[in-house]
């Protein structure tokens, strides 16, 4: 049976031309290195190194096998690097549950190593709370409000709000809107707690409010003048016919939170959360 250690010591001794130097690098006695190489030689069935007065020299067969030895060791090093990357969270699968409409940019924002981390998006739709997918179905969740006590919540992004209202509404003709202008409107929110927060919270929501179960109902509700929804700006919401989208200048911005279960054992998820926490601390200090 060939051992990787034997191959490594053979390679090192061949490159150094000297058992002692190879032994030094591995904190071994030269005789131990010789023993490893001897076992490798008996495994392959012929001598790989010739002992000379000044050290060791590759035999003809050893020269041919040295090239293969390098390839074996390269592959083995790549595997070890991969194990370390997985353990440190630089590589590995992260399942991210996210509310409809914030997939692309928001997901990219929470996975700082897009090349190394295998991200598995878990879309949850408008009426479901992404945080409920933790920890069984998802390692991380994106939400518009902080999670409960067993969850770690890190604010990761701030989004300006846009007003969505009926194209027939007189306000839809204005290029942008203020909170004051919207004061007499009925505020439409969709879904239970989580997604609803994407539509609020806002002091204006203290005025009359209409809660509907889902996005489709919200769109229908908004077709009547005098109703408005406030949504985070980057939401890639296809504007249905009959609706207008206008920037809302002084509405309170929406915060996107990254949630993880406090007990998550996924190293990649832990690393992503820690990096966002660290970035938040740096931002906080700078501010």
């Amino acid at each position: 049976v060939v051992l990787l250690r034997q191959v490594r010591l053979f390679r090192d001794a061949a490159v150094a031309g000297n058992l002692a130097r190879a032994a030094e690098a591995h904190l071994l006695a030269p005789s131990a290195v010789g023993e490893y190489v001897k076992r490798l030689e008996s495994a392959v069935g012929f001598p790989l190194l010739e002992r000379t007065s000044r050290g060791v020299r590759l035999t003809r067969e050893g020269t041919q096998l040295l090239e293969e030895a390098e390839k074996v060791l390269d592959a083995s090093d790549a595997l070890d690097l991969c194990v370390r990357a997985v353990r440190s969270g630089e590589a590995g699968e992260v399942r991210v549950a996210f509310p409809d409409g914030c997939s692309g940019p928001a997901l990219a924002a929470v996975t700082p190593h897009p090349r190394a981390v295998v991200s598995t998006p878990v879309p949850v739709g408008w009426t479901e709370d992404a945080a409920r997918k933790l920890p069984d179905e998802a390692d991380l969740a994106l939400a518009w409000s902080p999670g409960g006590p067993s969850l770690v919540s890190v604010p990761v992004a701030v989004h300006r709000r846009v007003a969505v209202l009926s194209a027939d509404d007189p306000l839809a003709r204005l290029p942008d809107l203020t909170a004051e202008a919207l004061a007499g409107h009925v505020f439409v929110t969709a879904g239970p707690a989580g997604p609803a927060d994407a539509w609020g919270p806002h002091p204006l929501l203290a005025s009359e409010r209409l809660s509907v179960p889902g996005l489709r109902e919200a769109q229908n509700a908004l077709r009547r003048p005098g109703r408005v929804a406030l949504l985070p700006e980057p939401l890639t919401l296809p504007t249905p016919a009959g609706l207008a989208v206008r920037p809302c200048l002084d509405a309170e911005p929406a915060r996107l939170y990254l949630l993880s279960h406090a007990a998550t054992r996924n190293p990649a998820a832990r690393r992503i959360v820690h990096e966002h926490l660290a970035a938040g601390l740096v931002r906080g200090r700078a501010g």
Binding site: V2, L4, F46, E61, V83, V86, R87, G92
Partner: protein, 279 residues
């Protein structure tokens, strides 16, 4: 991670079952489970998802298993290279020899080009590593050592078709390919009346001398096959020459062994059984 870890990862991924993977690896199932558990501790995350139906790799595990498979591939290449070094038949041993001694029928072992190599070039061929071993008639050239003595290579007198059996003694010159001339003829067979020896560099040149009636030649019997204008007269009794397979003085025992095996195989392939004795 060591190679056993690598084998364990790949086998479990491929078979999807701890019991079957353990059986294939020749280890006890608890030992395999412990090994996988240790790898998962090392990686800090599950590599396999266990269910009642069996075992499948997680997405993170797939990252590791892909690299583990790369290691196995590299190890397989290493082992194939080691096999090539051990087995001469797939190593492509380069064997040179005077033309006629190395049979082109053994082409998969012996590249056809060096088969006509002359004795004077033997040392050069070995030195330039054109050949790993050379078959020679007669004594070993300087700088080489014999690894195999092949006995009883029958020689034949090659004469012009029109000439009779008496041609050998009619005062004609003798011709041989360089290297055939000196020792085989000098030591084993020299017609008394040959007063002149021509040297031919190539088989065609030798054939030209013989067919044109200017010379006879001593060649290994049957080496030339049927050629128009010439015929062979077997040299019964004294017409035998030893053939040595030689390698460089510095060649390893393994190279010597490979040369011996390859020559024996080449003769077997060429259906020319030779009595051989180890050198």
């Amino acid at each position: 991670m060591d190679l056993q870890d690598v084998h364990a990862l790949c086998a479990l991924d491929r078979l999807g079952h701890f019991g079957r993977a353990a059986a294939e690896l020749g280890v006890a199932q608890p030992a395999l489970s412990q090994r996988i558990a240790r790898i998962e501790r090392e990686a800090g995350t599950p590599v396999f998802a266990r269910s009642s139906r069996g075992v499948t790799s997680t997405a993170t595990g797939a990252l590791l298993i892909r690299r583990a498979a790369d290691v196995l591939g590299a190890v397989a290449d290493w082992e194939a290279a080691a096999r090539r070094c051990r087995a001469p038949s797939d190593q492509g041993l380069r064997l040179a020899g005077p033309w006629g001694l190395v049979d082109p029928a053994a082409a998969q072992l012996l590249p056809p080009e060096p088969a006509g190599l002359a004795l004077s070039a033997v040392g050069a061929a070995l030195g330039a590593a054109e050949a790993s071993a050379v078959a020679v008639l007669g004594p070993c050239p300087a700088g080489t050592r014999s690894v195999l003595r092949l006995e009883d290579v029958p020689l034949a007198l090659l004469v012009a078709d029109a000439a009779g059996a008496e041609a050998a003694d009619d005062g004609r010159a003798y011709v041989g390919v360089v290297g055939f001339v000196e020792d085989p003829i000098g030591r084993f067979w020299r017609p008394g009346s040959a007063d002149r020896v021509l040297l031919a560099e190539t088989a065609d040149e030798l054939l030209y001398y013989v067919a044109s009636g200017r010379a006879c030649a001593v060649v290994p019997a049957g080496a030339l096959g049927d050629r128009p204008g010439v015929r062979e007269i077997p040299l019964a009794g004294r017409g035998h020459a030893p053939v040595h397979v030689v390698v460089r003085d510095g060649a390893t025992d393994l190279e010597a062994q490979r040369a011996r095996v390859a020559v024996r195989q080449s003769h077997a392939l060429a259906s020319r059984p030779l009595v051989a004795s180890g050198g």
